[in-house]
Amino acid sequence: MRLPLHLRWELYPVQHEAGKRAEYGGSYMEEVNWWEKKKKSSLYNEIRYMVPEILFLRGLKKENPRLWNLSFPFHFGFYLIMGTLGLLILGALCLVLGLPVAPGQGLLGSLIYYLTILSGFLGLSLGTVGTAALFRRRLRDPELRNYSSFFDYWNLAFIFAFFLVGLLAWLFHDHAFDGARAYVYSLLTFGGIPAGMAGNRTFWGSLSIVLGSLLIAYIPLTHMSHMFMKYFLYHSVKWEDIPNTGSRIEGEVLENLGLKPTWAAPHIGADGKQTWAQIAASAPKEKK
């Protein structure tokens, strides 16, 4: 279903406002005859706000520092694992092109090699600790436990299992993530195996790949998709301040006003045949 244009429901500060307004929460509506002026917005202000918000959960740190202590390692661990995946893809591409990814094998190969280890190890460690801490907090804090369902614990347990299994795979077998890179290589080459990697498949490595793949498929089905949907919560609602001064908005408003509601309360007077525009132009039934 295509979601219709909704009524404006922005909340200030709106971070794409230009200049100081983004800081104190001002808007273009602070100007006399604002509709006659060109609306200024600042991508710089928005980025300046969003980068620390996404990377470091700045809002949570300010409003709920106790939870941030647990939530930040969890989220940052996730980001590092996503970064590690990117580095693994990059490393596998290098292998496809015949460039070795190993220490002392040129600047690029060495850089990817060491960065993958750093990012992967930190990501798995932070993720494991953060998820366990969040699970414990949800279980022990009555304010959270009172609102938690089986799925809330299951989600955390699932993610914890992924991080922990990944960490164990690193600890027991794959210190340099060579096995993980070989798996990505095989995906990119439809089953190919990089030179010298045959027979390196391990239980923990395979399990972490299975869990990781399941997790990627599972997250969009849960409220954990807020990691991505936050974009829409901010850009389509909280910061959506576009005034109806142009044809695009006007056209969509007219389309909405042509819809035929069926609300049943007598004062609405909806019969499924009248449009929103007709009902808005009529008096409530109590008046008649």
Partner: protein
């Protein structure tokens, strides 16, 4: 003794009262107000509650008649579920479908919102007032009864029963939140539990015809029937304004003419008609400023055209659209260049921001906040000021609808910095402000003991903020709370009266225009008089 934690499922369980508000749980007031720290909410007698839903928390906002038969109860439940389905349909709820879906699906239940909610904090952290309590109840009902396989998944995703207790208490609970949206502003994800409260109110009004009578029957319906939610018809409002005109000359020594229905004026000024009755000096002060600054302006004597309120904003999209369209039609007939919203926060938001996607074509007449125009007038040098006339401590209350919902923050401050030498901010202020406690209709709702609940709970934070702003001032000197919003003024008036703050601390309240006129060098006598 600490009360047992109320669980989400408890909303469905029969009990005489789900939550008990106790004086000892409420954050204490400082001297000289300690005697109010033992004040409990007045108990409602059996005779008042016998036939209406009163099992939530000891107060009543709506007064829903209890069903007399099982069939009647079933009918309520069917209507509730039908309304809930409609909230998620494009044709019925295009107005808020996307924001609602996003807030229903992505809450992480981290409870960060709770600390931001003044009603939750000031009630002694009553679980049912936690912003996420009512939202999570609705989420569980939605998942169980509306979504596919909901009854099976509810066992794992969070179960809840749906019965008369659930829906009746949920309806009441939707009127224990002032929709100030402070909770939404601190949510790390952007989830808006205030919006969910708003949608619950809509469900009850638009499908079941249930809403507090002050905002529906005596509010938006009366506004459309006689012209104003105050009950004033055009003739009555013209008489009252004529009286204000005479009064203004008597009070300030400045002769003012208030224009009516002037076709082709630059500005149509829309007041909250409550000002005419309760704060006539506000209406008069606007007229003085506009006349002195040479603004081409007019009032409208058309029905609805002299009352800028739009209560639909709080509970009913259809009522909101009807009033907004009428306001725009009146402006179009008068051929004005723009509509200026007077000192009324919800009218600002309703007509300027919300109705922006209701009004099309020649009904889309520019709308602007009076605070912005006043800022331009004060800053232009057209008027001469003597700020020493406002030589008393002044603090500013930020109406949520003007500040957090519209981003109009600095104009009113620029004015105050120019005309009030003893201006100081509240903590916090601006977009982080606290609601006056009268938001979303509470200021005008006073049935049963609701006004007392408001003063004790939802307005308590504002009272503490006001006291804090003046804490270093001697009790005996007059102090002024500037509240540029009619509803906020109403609830601040009630706080000051209930806690006897004018007698005990010499705290007074009023609007912004009164302060401006008070500082105008041209005025022979002050408009602000600290009396009573």
């Amino acid at each position: 003794m600490k009360a047992p934690l109320i669980k989400l499922q408890d909303i469905a369980r029969p009990s005489k009262r789900l939550a008990q508000i106790r004086a000892e749980d409420l954050p204490p007031l400082p001297p000289p107000y300690e005697d109010f720290n033992q004040k409990n909410l007045t108990e409602l007698g059996e005779e008042k509650t016998a036939n209406v839903e009163a099992s939530l928390d000891g107060t009543i906002a709506i007064g829903i008649p209890k069903p007399k038969t099982k069939e009647e109860e079933e009918k309520y439940l069917r209507a509730f579920l039908s309304g809930l389905r409609k909230l998620f349909e494009k044709k019925n709820n295009w107005t808020f479908l996307q924001p609602l879906l996003l807030s229903m699906e992505h809450c992480a239940k981290c409870q960060t919102c709770s600390e931001a909610c003044p009603a939750f904090e000031m009630s002694g952290r009553q679980e049912i007032y936690r912003p996420n309590y009512r939202a999570e109840v609705l989420r569980r009902i939605y998942r169980k009864y509306i979504k596919p396989f909901g009854k099976i998944s509810a066992k794992l995703a969070g179960d809840i029963d749906l019965n008369w207790n659930t829906i009746a208490r949920l309806a009441e609970l939707a009127y224990r939140c002032t929709l100030c949206r402070r909770c939404a502003s601190v949510c790390p994800i952007g989830v808006d539990n205030g919006l969910i409260t708003h949608e619950i109110r809509k469900l009850f009004s638009q499908e079941l015809g249930i809403a507090p009578k002050e905002i529906h029957e005596k509010g938006s319906v009366q506004q459309m029937r006689v012209g104003s939610s105050t009950g004033m018809n055009p003739m009555a409002v013209k008489d009252s304004v004529e009286f204000i005109q005479e009064e203004m000359e008597e009070i300030t020594g400045y002769k003012v003419e208030i224009p009516w229905d002037k076709e082709g004026a630059e500005v149509l000024l829309l007041h909250n008609a409550g000002e005419v009755l309760a704060w006539p000096e506000n209406v008069g002060a606007f007229a003085i400023i506009f006349q002195a600054a040479g603004i081409s302006w007019t009032l409208s004597s058309e029905e609805i055209g002299y009352d800028g309120v739009n209560y639909g904003l709080w509970y009913d999209d259809v009522q909101l659209a009807r009033v907004a369209v009428k306001h725009a039609e009146i402006a179009r007939t008068l051929k004005v260049k723009k509509i200026i919203l007077g000192e009324c926060g919800h009218a600002h938001k309703a007509l300027t921001v919300i109705a922006d996607r209701v009004l099309t074509g020649d009904l889309n007449i520019p709308r602007e906040s009076a605070l912005v125009l006043l800022d331009e007038i004060v800053g232009s040098g057209k008027l001469k000021f003597d700020p020493s006339r406002n030589d008393f401590p002044v603090t500013l209350h930020d109406p949520c609808n003007v500040v957090r919902a519209m981003g109009i923050v600095e104009p009113q401050r620029r004015i105050l910095r120019k005309i009030a030498p003893k201006f100081r901010e509240m903590t916090p202020h601006g977009v982080d402000n606290y609601c006056c406690g009268g938001g979303s209709g509470f200021a005008i709702m006073s049935g049963y003991n609701f006004a007392e609940w408001r003063t004790l709970i939802s307005s308590r934070k504002k009272f503490l903020q006001i006291l804090d702003a003046f804490k270093n001032e001697p009790l005996e000197i007059p102090k002024y709370v500037c509240a540029p919003c009619s509803n906020c003024k109403g609830s601040i008036r009630d706080i000051l009266e209930y806690y006897q703050a004018t007698e005990r601390s010499h705290i007074y309240y009023g609007g912004l225009v009164e302060l401006i006129v008070n500082a105008m060098a041209e005025m022979k006598k002050p408009i602000i008089r600290f009396e009573g």
